[in-house]
């Protein structure tokens, strides 16, 4: 009897997921094989033409490359910026530790639009940084800190930091401080103990944090749209434009599938790493 009760109770949620997730994703995959002719006319087909266009056209190649570069740059910067904070949080014995931990993750809980907007108050021509630079007499005219790739990178690093810090802290959990002490006692300089002992032992956290950051940056939309000022084209903004402005749905679908494949590859890579460490 319990079997039936269970099936009945799980049905509404399953139905919702089929309607809003499974069917749409299958539809998306199918549509990516259609062709789109000028003027947004949809031609049912079974061709890889839209994939060919995205991967072959130099304009779209640049977008793919830019998205990839953005992912790598932001991930590297986020890792460096987060490692210091994570290590500090992990080691500190301050009674403010709990407060600092909450402060560290607090930006994560705030709407992405608000977080991106808040960078405008700093990077805008009339924002904090430019006002300070002018007041100090270092520049006469505001310098362009947003509406370009630089602004997108700055915003994304800060937005990804809490996630990276959480991943690193989880990795530090297996860090035994006596190992570092042992390295120091055996005569290793502090930086050497750090490079040869601390970093390798925290590698699982580093890999997890980097993967999560990388896939999030690769698919980020709000920050490139707003801090890029409509001038920074990445995969997510291109999907949006092709879907809602150019109305080339097959191309938008093809780019989406490529993005999903990148996601899948990153997850699979992480699985392999995780299994190796578990062994």
């Amino acid at each position: 009897m319990r079997r039936w009760t269970g099936a009945v109770l799980a049905t509404p949620a399953t139905a919702l997921m089929v309607l809003t997730f499974l069917l749409p994703m299958l539809w998306l995959a199918r549509l990516s094989l259609d062709r789109s002719e000028d003027g947004g006319v949809l031609v049912p087909a079974l061709s890889a033409g839209e994939y060919g266009q995205f991967l072959g056209d130099p304009f779209y190649q640049r977008i793919l490359l830019r998205t990839f570069e953005l992912g790598v740059t932001v991930t590297a910067l986020t890792l460096v910026a987060s490692y210091a904070i994570a290590l500090f949080l992990f080691r500190t014995r301050s009674r403010w530790r709990a407060v600092l931990a909450v402060l560290t993750v607090s930006p994560m809980l705030i709407s992405s639009v608000v977080r991106t907007y808040s960078w405008m108050t700093i990077l805008d021509d009339h924002g904090l940084v430019n006002q300070a630079l002018i007041w100090l007499g270092l520049v006469h005219r505001p310098i362009a800190l947003m509406d370009n790739l630089l602004g997108v990178e700055i915003g994304l690093v800060q937005i990804e930091m809490p996630v990276m810090i959480l991943a690193l802290m989880a990795g530090f959990a297996r860090l035994d401080p006596t190992l570092e002490e042992a390295a120091r006692c055996l005569g290793a300089a502090p930086w050497r103990a750090f490079l040869r002992v601390t970093i390798p032992l925290s590698a699982p956290g580093i890999v997890l944090g980097c993967l999560v950051t990388f896939v999030q940056v690769m698919s980020s939309f709000v920050t490139p749209s707003l801090l890029g000022g409509g001038r920074v084209y990445v995969m997510a903004t291109t999907i949006y434009q092709e879907a809602l402005e150019t109305l080339n749905w097959p191309l938008a679908a093809a780019i989406s599938i490529i993005l999903v494949v990148v996601f899948g590859a990153c997850l699979a890579a992480y699985e392999r790493f995780a299994r190796r460490w578990a062994a």
Binding site: T5, A84, I85, T121, F221, A243
Partner: protein
């Protein structure tokens, strides 16, 4: 810690928290455009909020939508979690993976997929369409949280009640429900937050006459940045903190994070 490392950590914290600090300060401005520091300090931006019809209608839509999404996902998500934890339906492992799979997908892809299907079903720009889209984001959190909570209730307690003659519905209502109430509250807050903050999927399924608050802000700041948005941000941050406190009091979120 050595002074150099200490300085680096302080600077990095400044980088992490500066946007929040500056947005709060820049909201107390009487200027017509965004400038930091404000030329004239004051509360004009907050007054402007009360007269901004776009933001107000957006807030109404977001609150109604968040309420519906919370109720729907809590109901069907808890039912599904109970089925996964307490019954022997086949394929429980893959069902759980299916329920949480959307979390592993880029939201931009989910949004496009919904656009393509909703265009066929005539759901674009409608409240049901928005409810479906937001439930997709909220449901994985609810199922996960409730599954953990229900698994945490010892089966022996429920069995004791059943042995003493309570019918299954009464066991759930009188024994299980009170024990999972904190998790229900936390799941409700999380579901509401997931809907209230959702931007990317929403952009694909909204229509010209039905727009949520984050989308209003998104389009607004694409063309201009003024202190009103800062004031609105402060209000939204306050709402978020309030919800986090609710979650924390029921599940000990802060303890989990700071451990």
């Amino acid at each position: 810690m050595r002074p150099l490392a200490r300085a680096a950590v302080v600077l990095l914290y400044l980088f992490l928290l500066a946007p929040m600090i500056v947005v709060v300060l820049s909201s107390f401005s009487n200027d017509a455009y965004l400038a930091f520091p404000p030329r004239h300090w004051g509360f004009a931006a907050y007054g402007g909020l009360l007269r901004n019809e776009g933001f107000q209608s957006g807030l109404e839509v977001s609150l109604v939508l968040g309420g519906i999404v919370t109720a729907v996902t809590l109901l069907i998500g808890t039912a599904a979690a109970w089925a996964l934890a307490r019954t022997s339906i086949p394929g429980r492992g893959s069902l759980l993976a299916f329920f949480t799979a959307p979390l592993l997908m880029p939201t931009i892809v989910l949004g496009l997929a919904l656009l393509l299907v909703f265009a066929q079903l005539g759901l674009l720009g409608t409240l049901p369409g928005l409810v479906f889209g937001h439930s997709l984001v909220a449901l994985p959190y609810v199922v996960r949280l409730m599954l953990t909570a229900i698994r945490g209730v010892p089966a022996s307690v429920e069995e004791a009640a059943a042995t003493l003659g309570a019918p299954p519905a009464a066991v759930f209502r009188r024994v299980t429900l009170p024990l999972i109430r904190p998790a229900l509250l936390a799941a409700a807050a999380l579901a509401f937050l997931a809907s209230f903050d959702e931007v990317v999927i929403t952009l694909f399924v909204i229509g010209p006459r039905l727009t949520t608050l984050p989308i209003q802000i998104f389009h607004y700041v694409q063309y201009r940045a003024d202190p009103q948005v800062s004031a609105l941000s402060v209000v939204l941050i306050a709402v978020t903190i309030l919800l986090i406190v609710v979650i924390d009091r029921s599940t000990g979120f802060m303890r989990t994070v700071s451990r």
